[in-house]
């Protein structure tokens, strides 16, 4: 009676109880055929694992303390933002309720600004040819997409156009950025002084552009919210300087 494949592998990998292991090793001592199979399997595995190491890359320099600190910091910042927003809403509600308060009028003005003045009228589609020697990335977004410029010390500009095509494209001259595409977002590691051309499909329900986590542009349905005004051709030129506060 010889060892079956499962027994042989379990013996090789230390996946047996002490008693089970002892029993199978006793068999190997007596059975040259099983012993040969065991030696062959062990050698084969050693060779394959050595081959696998050929495709390894260096281990990233990450430690548990750093990871915990970063995770806690994100949680702390989120908590502070939530607390701040609650405080602000509470204070705004109280101010709104005071007789003669101008807050109500401000709120109505803000609502009018958000909903009417910046409503996009479809701009005539220009036949644009990307400039030569530009590098970039194209992505097919879902219902919501975020384009995030991440560099803390990089100024520059982004020219944003709304297009009829299906893809978000971001281009920069000379490969002046590095892109990381994830689900529903594009992260851009930008260099100072770079000028980006961004095309956003009108058909995407929601697209945000962030500069170091601060929103500088929002397209939601047909509405565009940004402090930058569109030029006659419908392009928005956005300052990419990181927020100072």
């Amino acid at each position: 009676m010889h060892l079956d494949e499962e027994q042989l592998q379990r013996l090789l990998h230390g996946e047996l109880t002490a008693a089970g292991s002892h029993e199978l090793r006793s068999h190997l001592a007596e059975c040259s055929e099983c012993r040969e199979r065991y030696i062959r399997a062990e050698r084969d595995e050693t060779e394959i694992f050595a081959l696998l190491r050929q495709v390894d890359h260096p281990l990233p320099a990450v430690d548990a303390a750093g990871l915990m600190a970063r995770t806690r910091k994100i949680g702390l910042v989120s908590g502070r933002w939530a607390a701040g927003i609650l405080l602000f809403l509470g204070a705004a509600g109280a101010a709104y309720a005071v007789p003669g308060s101008p807050v109500g009028e401000w709120a109505r003005s803000a609502a009018a600004w958000m909903t009417s003045e910046h409503r996009v009228t479809p701009a005539p589609r220009q036949a644009e040819v990307p400039p030569a020697r530009t590098a970039g990335i194209a992505a097919t977004p879902g219902k919501s997409y975020v384009i995030a410029f991440q560099s803390l010390d990089a100024a520059g500009q982004a020219r944003v156009s709304l297009i009829d095509g299906p893809e978000v494209t971001v281009r920069a001259p000379g490969g002046a950025a590095r892109y990381t595409s994830a689900a529903d977002r594009l992260l851009i590691d930008n260099q100072s002084g770079s000028v980006f051309d961004i095309e956003i499909p009108r058909s995407v329900p929601r697209v945000e552009i962030l500069v170091v986590d601060k929103r500088v542009f929002l397209k939601e349905g047909e509405r565009v919210v940004t402090r930058h005004t569109a030029d006659p051709a419908g392009h928005y030129t956005i300052d990419l300087s990181p927020p100072t506060n």
Binding site: L52, V55, P58, V62, A138, T140, A182
Partner: protein
């Protein structure tokens, strides 16, 4: 972990990280061939473990399952969503000192064949082989890959044979 104010969970997490981060990263690196993606996913899996605030019953298998889900999502969203228009900034590559040209060619050839062989394996065989190469137990492998633990050894032997066939004959159908 030196922080005297750290909770028992934080001590446990730190120990878990020390023991398992490297092998989770190596598993993902070999699986994807993309070290940055592997690093991001391995870190994200540990971030999720930390946010969870308690250890799962089988933490190693839990980490692998989370990492595999993140990996699948990243791969599917990327293949669906993006393509580079042109090459962007080149990256420096960390490597050993340069080899002699003929040696370098052999290593490169072998490395390419390993990568091709891994890519040609079935998802199950690739997972089995790579997880075992990092020393994961049969139980962790079975839980993470949703296999019957009683047959992990047999499946591993088959996965090794499949890898060997693909490596030695990369052009075989």
């Amino acid at each position: 972990m030196d922080d005297p104010e750290a909770s028992p969970f934080q001590h446990c997490f730190a120990a878990m990280f020390e023991t398992h981060f490297a092998r989770l990263y190596r598993y993902l690196d070999r699986l994807s061939g993309e070290p940055e993606l592997a690093s991001d996913i391995a870190q994200e899996a540990f971030v999720r473990l930390f946010r969870r605030g308690s250890m799962p019953d089988t933490p190693e298998a839990w980490l692998i399952s989370v990492a595999l889900n993140l990996f699948r999502n990243a791969k599917s969203s990327r293949s669906r969503r993006s393509r580079l228009l042109t090459a962007t900034r080149s990256e420096g590559v960390l490597a050993d000192p340069p080899l002699a040209p003929d040696q370098a060619a052999m290593v490169e050839d072998s490395r390419g064949r390993v990568r091709t062989a891994l890519d040609r394996l079935s998802q199950r065989d690739r997972g089995l082989l790579l997880l075992r190469a990092e020393g994961y137990s049969y139980r962790d492998i079975a839980v993470a890959l949703e296999l019957n633990e009683a047959s992990v050894g047999t499946l591993l032997a088959r996965a090794r044979r499949a890898f060997r066939d693909c490596y030695e004959d990369p052009d075989a159908p």
